[in-house]
Symmetry: D4
């Protein structure tokens, strides 16, 4: 059983690498969004033509990114959504809702201070973790039945 | 043609009333979440038993609220998601993602300063408005073909 | 908003009547299986011809009952599954699994001593109650936003 | 044609090994739940944090197990559900209902004394067997057209 | 609960009338194909232009009839398929397969001499009857829980 | 049986009125796009704010119109797509493809000179007509079994 | 592009071999039912226990065969259904209806004398052939764009 | 991540080759219709028998081509639809609508003079390009996160 795992959300820390590295012994295929912030913001206008209006500049980019995001979410067995300390992170919550409506198994990763604000997202999740290592432990258990320690 | 419209998101201003009042001449059936903040937070423990742990207190409530929210989103033709000035509002973005994955027509209502942070949500929307009156105008046009003014 | 509620499971106590009576002021349409135990067991052979073999006697009846059960589950917004004190009640758990796979909002009603044995069923539920009155309170809150007391 | 077969239910006898061993010559990919009873009960708290309340202890574990179970059921062509002699086994019946609603081919394996209590589950099955060897014979016939003996 | 019942198959005897008349006290909405044999054969060319080639004459008609048939099957809760004594009746078996793939509850009505030839169709049915009155009895039981006699 | 019919395509002649008037005795609920060409082109900017760039002017309008079109197509039993003498009419062909993918019964209405260019669209249709009166005759036959003349 | 082709219907002539042999140069994966008539009739009782009643003898076998048939139809891109000269062949028409409802591309293969009786089945087909070689030619064209001769 | 890309529309220039050649370093699996115009027009009659009537000549061919087209669209992650300078190109717009209804990521490729006529098609697209090289750049960014230049 190969588990397809999509890593959504925060792109400013190395949580994806921690999960991928920690899962090196597991049969997992990881996917996720483009994590180069600048490229992600500008991909639309860089390829399809400049827009003087910031709304359309952003819109073109968000739509090109959606090609990758929607395939990643549609193909995944498990969607991990990480909420960090900064920014609005509405794209992360949007991905969580999208994944939930598709019936994907949702794992939410967030610092404890966000607990109350995330309660509707948590209500759709099968696991809520605070550390990337816990996500690795969940994936290992799901694939092999082995618990940590 | 009756249009079923779900009004999701911010619960601290009267935007729902503005839209419902403005649509009084239209064949629209509105639905939305429970907007009593206290009841919404406590419904789980008030009915199903107290929880000393805040996480489970919130969880029980969020799950009971999901009974209403999921039916509302599933039944809707159009989902309007309002982002306000305050709070994390991840439940609003979650609903937007959920609605998008179900193929619902999405209308996003937000102040202009949130434009960049909402670009992924906007990319899934068929209309982006700043004022409740614009949502009314969209609904009127969709149902009757009449434009404002 | 009319809420369609299917009442599945145990047929030897008056829990259905308690929920239906308690919801008299609410816009709920209730449905459920045939609760006449004898008719339910014998409907297949009574209509479609006797079977000397007990397996096929039961099978014919279970298939006729499935016509009603599947429609009820498919049409429902909310499925309430009651586990009682006696019998195997695998049909109740089967209905719960069926409803979960269809994405229905699941409410489980059971005495506390069954908690551990029902943990997989509870994991798919949005509310777990011990008394029929709690189910009524959930339905009232979902439809009206009012809490008990 | 590779047949994907999920082996659900009872975890205290070696019926899974009997089926897997007996199918050694067949193009079948088997999957199933974690069968280490202790790990299965404790996986939630062992990874995601202790819970003093038994309900939430169980709940956390059941939700982590659901990540594996739902993928297994969703990917399967055939779901075999085994009912044994002991315990409530509501999780087995839940899986059967879940599989039926997904349109999976269902094979039920149970001792004859459970026949009447399982009639609703049997009504959704394409084969009902008493011995693991019969399941192997069904899989062999389905894949190769060869009958036993 | 209104039960939507589609009556498919043989059009040369009055079995539809027997079922509809016998169900006069029940909350059933019946639908079915056009039963005027001549109109059914010629509807395509009569409306959309003559075809000298018999294949296309028949094809045009079959496609126009499919507008009605597909809606009827898609809307139905229960599909009754009647096999009579004469003709190939491949359209009846086609409707049965179509209904089965849509997950409809299937009732097959046929004389006993067709039993062996219909075994694959029966394997998808929830009830197999020989007389129209038995279909009425099934519908009455499903809707009211009452058995005949 | 009420038949829901969506009338898509050309908006410069009175073909919709001919069909609606001709069907006055039938149980049909008609729907269709906004047919005021100017309003349809400008609805986006008139409600949601001006765009100096023609592409985004058009885009905003097309997305608002999509709210109506998608609901109409999704709710329809039958989609009639009319191709006229002028313009590119790619929106008509787009609607035909959209309807076909949703499994709707498709009726195409076009002058004979477009036959070759429409062959892929015709291949997805259940009826191809040249005159609005033929569409009325199809609807009457589908609903009542009566043929013209 | 590998094309998955299910070969349904008549099992008394070598039409399957003709198609498989003729497609030796093509990227096609063929599947189909068990074609050993005796094994197909008796598989249920041979594996799961004898039945004195002919109806249940047949039923048990038809249900075991359905495990193979449903997977084959569900996995296929193209379903070829062959109608021969003899027998009722309702299982062939059932498979055609089942495939049509799943949206599979349907190819029907039948002698010309069955044309009128198969008109509803033909109306759901994308190709109607009289000889196995024509089916091979269709598959070759679909995969390579090459026409015969 | 392998991206499956279907290249629909105009068959008279080498835009497909430009995209395929430009994507030589990417993990993309391309598919598309038969682009031999003559074979595409005549495949039906060449294989399944001549038709004196031009409508049925075209119809037979369009239906055979649909076997390939529907599989290609159904399997694709991304559908690129090219509109050229000539012809009606209703098949291209039909494919775009079909792909949109299936929820595929749509990229439209057209010369700027078609902008207004394509506004409804553009409203369903995630990217609109004028040159094949831009499509390559989108695919490269989606797969690797790298921008051109």
């Amino acid at each position: 059983m190969t588990l397809k795992v999509y890593l959504s959300g925060e792109i400013h820390t190395d949580w994806r690498e921690q999960i991928i590295d920690g899962s090196g012994d597991l049969d997992v295929a990881f996917d996720g969004p483009v994590t180069d912030h600048g490229a992600s913001d500008d991909c639309g206008v860089a390829i399809l033509g400049a827009e003087p209006n910031k709304y359309w500049h952003d819109h073109k980019g968000a739509m090109v990114n959606a090609i990758r995001t929607r395939k990643g979410l549609a193909d995944a067995d498990v969607v991990v959504v990480r909420f960090g300390d900064k920014y609005k992170q509405w794209n992360a919550a949007f991905d969580a809702g999208y994944a939930a409506a598709l019936g994907k198994s949702l794992i939410v990763l967030n610092p404890p201070e966000h607990q109350h604000a995330l309660k509707e997202v948590h209500a759709a999740a099968l696991a809520v973790a605070e550390e990337p290592g816990q996500v690795v432990d969940v994936l290992r258990y799901v694939l092999t039945g082995r618990l940590p320690g």
